[in-house]
Symmetry: C2
Subunit: 171 residues, 2 copies
DNA sequence: TGCGGGTTTCATTTTTTTTTGAAACTTTTG
DNA sequence: CAAAAGTTTCAAAAAAAAATGAAACCCGCA
């Protein structure tokens, strides 16, 4: 099927749910891009968020006018963040996607998947700083030790606080 | 003055503080890029973080082998985040930059400057969603109302929690 | 007022990221 | 087993973001 032309996208929009959909896509595109996610990911989630029924990939492609590749990539990302789930529809071979709308869970997952790994490698890098300092200068220079200590505190605080944060969220 | 050639950058590196500097730059480039900041900003902050003396812009340019434009842009960003301060050095017309190393303060500022504004516009967008829904469908459809309610809770939680977070940080 | 060091701005170039689309792969079904 | 539907992968194209460098600007000073 021919991909939707630009005009088709905006064609009617009188139904209030269509306007809602547009706002939703806009909303999540921005939100996701704050978290460093590409536009396509936000678009897909935004579409699914106000969809009463689970949508198959080709519907997503058609409604958003995006390529199959983007949709597949985007859904993969969303699956890895547990932001969508697939539902089984009898008599249909296609996967149907539904948005996970519990932000608490989404948030917790995001921290686990995207932040925690960075914290780990940050700790390693700090360790390397200490090594290079102590091996060479003995214990002489306060300044550098203090700076390194601050970094340690930063990563410790981050490592404890961020995971705790998800628990604090009382939605 | 000629810009440092690539080899000059890595030339010696036996002094432990040089290795520290490299690790620091690496560290902050990654950290900043998690927060959506360009590499140049992380490099500058990383350099200043382990510098005992305030550095003028031309030193930053020379040591990092970056362009004047990048350095100026990067310092502007760092100033706006209050991540560097300028110090006065008698008899020198150049500004000298020093890293602000209290992460608590930095963090609070980052939230205020970069996050809060987005929260505001998110609220407006949600308002628009409610408008388009209520104007058209009266009050019939639970589903959409619930979804919108969730978004409201999300932004409310974000708006309260994020600023509070800076206070929680006990570095 | 004109000079000169220091800095900012911004059009252009470079680099990086994202999207596309077609081929390859997988799975279901006749 | 072959055909077809659905999906993923990935090289190439497009778009977006960042860096460059030169011109413009500012400001103190002679």
């Amino acid at each position: 099927m021919a991909k939707a032309s630009p005009t088709t996208q905006v064609e009617i929009l009188n139904k209030s749910t269509d306007r809602l959909e547009v706002e939703s896509i806009d909303f999540f595109v921005r939100m996701m891009s704050m978290l460093g996610m590409p536009k396509s990911v936000g678009e897909i989630y935004g579409l699914l968020y106000f969809s009463k029924t689970p949508l198959p990939m080709d519907q997503i492609v058609y409604r958003l006018g995006m390529s199959l590749g983007s949709a597949s990539q985007g859904l993969k990302t969303l699956r890895s963040l547990k932001a969508v789930k697939t539902t089984y529809i009898p008599g249909d071979r296609r996967d149907h996607y539904l948005a996970e709308t519990e932000f608490r869970r989404l948030f917790a997952n995001f921290i686990k998947e995207e932040i925690t790994p960075h914290m780990e490698s940050a700790k390693e890098r700090i360790q390397r700083m200490e090594d290079s300092l102590s091996s060479h200068d003995g214990q002489k220079d306060e300044f550098y030790h203090i700076r390194i200590e601050k970094l340690k505190k930063l990563t410790r605080a981050g490592g404890r606080l961020l995971p705790a944060l998800a628990g604090l969220l009382k939605f």
